[in-house]
C-alpha cells in the first residue's frame, strides 16, 4: 500500500492511475499474445529450415570430401579462388509490435563456366551445386533464427511487465484506493455524530434560556 494522505483529491488521482494501469495491462497482455503467436509460427518454420540446412550441409560436405580426395586440397583451393559467383544479400526490415526483425533475400550472380573442365573432378561441380543450395536456405534460416531470438527477448520483457502490473502495481493501487475510501467514510460518520452532538447541545441551551425567561 502506498503512503498517501487520505484525501478525496488523492483518491481521484489514484483511481485514474488504476484505470490507466488496467488499460496498460490489457494492452500488454494483447501484445504478449500476439508476440507468442508469431514466435510459435517462426519456431515452426525455423525447425523446418534447420533440418533442411543440416541435410544440405551434410550432403555438401560429403561431396566436398570426395572432391578433395579426387583432386587434392591445394588444387581445389586454386579452383575455388577462380570461381566467379557473387552471392548478393539484401536485408530489409519488418516490424512486429515494434520489434525490428530482419528479412533476408539472397540472389546469386554467377558467370559459368567457372573453371576449366580439364583436370577438375565431377565432384567439384557436385559440391559446388550442393553448397549453393545450402547458402540459399541459409539466408532464410538466419532470418528466422535472429527473429526468434529477438522476439523471445521481447516476449520475456513483456511478460515481466504484465506480471509486474498484475501482481504488484494493480493490487497495490486497489488497496490504497480502498484504504482511502474507508478513511473518508469514517470521517463522514465522525462528522455526522459531531453534528448531532452540537445540535443536542444547542437545543439544551435554547431550552435553558426559554426556562429562564
Amino acid at each position: 500500500m502506498r503512503n498517501v494522505a487520505p484525501t478525496k483529491s488523492n483518491m481521484i488521482s489514484l483511481k485514474n492511475e488504476l484505470k490507466f494501469a488496467k488499460l496498460g495491462h490489457e494492452l500488454l497482455d494483447q501484445k504478449r499474445n500476439i508476440l507468442v503467436l508469431e514466435l510459435l509460427n517462426l519456431v515452426e518454420q525455423a525447425v523446418d529450415h534447420e533440418e533442411k540446412v543440416e541435410r544440405a550441409l551434410a550432403e555438401a560436405y560429403r561431396t566436398l570430401e570426395y572432391a578433395v580426395l579426387d583432386m587434392g586440397k591445394l588444387k581445389l583451393y586454386q579452383v575455388a579462388s577462380a570461381i566467379n559467383i557473387e552471392s548478393n544479400l539484401k536485408i530489409s526490415q519488418r516490424k512486429i509490435m515494434g520489434v525490428p526483425l530482419p528479412v533476408v533475400d539472397t540472389t546469386f550472380e554467377d558467370y559459368p563456366p567457372y573453371y576449366s573442365l580439364m583436370g577438375t573432378s565431377f565432384w567439384t561441380d557436385n559440391s559446388l551445386g550442393e553448397f549453393k543450395a545450402v547458402v540459399k536456405v541459409m539466408g532464410k534460416l538466419a532470418e528466422l533464427k535472429i527473429s526468434i531470438m529477438r522476439l523471445a527477448k521481447e516476449v520475456k520483457k513483456t511478460i515481466k511487465k504484465v506480471n509486474a502490473l498484475e501482481k504488484i502495481a494493480i493490487p497495490d493501487l486497489q488497496e490504497t484506493v480502498k484504504y482511502i475510501e474507508n478513511r473518508l467514510e469514517e470521517n463522514e460518520r465522525d462528522m455526522v455524530i459531531l453534528l448531532k452532538m452540537t445540535k443536542q447541545r444547542l437545543e439544551k441551551k435554547r431550552l435553558e434560556i426559554s426556562n429562564l425567561n
Binding site: S87, V135, A142
Partner: protein, 101 residues
C-alpha cells in the same frame, strides 16, 4: 551485402566454392580475430559460424545476436554433423522465456 564464413578448413573451402569468403578458426584466439575482422567489414550481412567455433567465443557471439541489428549471425553444424547434445531451437526458446511452446 555478403556472406562470410568462420569455421574449419573444410567449411571455408566449401563455401569458397560458391564465392563466399571466410576465415579459418581453430582456436579461441583465431576465432575472436576472425569474428572481429568479419564485424569490421560493413559489407558483410550474414556471418555463418560453425557451432563449435561459436562455442569458443560464446559471450561475444551472444552479445551480437541479441543486441546488434547487423550483421546477422547464424550457427551451423560442422563437417561432423549435428551434435545431439546441442539444444534445439524450441528448447532454446523455452529456456529464454521460461514458457513452454
Amino acid at each position: 551485402m555478403k556472406y562470410f564464413v568462420i569455421g574449419d578448413e573444410e567449411a571455408v573451402l566449401g563455401f569458397g566454392l560458391v564465392g563466399i569468403q571466410g576465415l579459418k578458426a581453430e582456436s579461441p584466439r583465431e576465432a575472436e580475430a576472425a569474428f572481429k575482422a568479419a564485424l569490421e567489414d560493413k559489407n558483410i550481412g550474414i556471418i555463418i559460424i560453425e557451432d563449435k567455433v561459436a562455442d569458443m567465443i560464446r559471450p561475444v557471439v551472444d552479445k551480437y545476436i541479441f543486441t546488434e541489428q547487423f550483421p546477422l549471425i547464424v550457427e551451423v553444424p560442422g563437417r561432423v554433423g549435428k551434435d545431439p547434445q546441442r539444444p534445439s531451437i524450441r528448447a532454446m526458446v523455452n529456456d529464454a522465456i521460461g514458457i513452454k511452446l
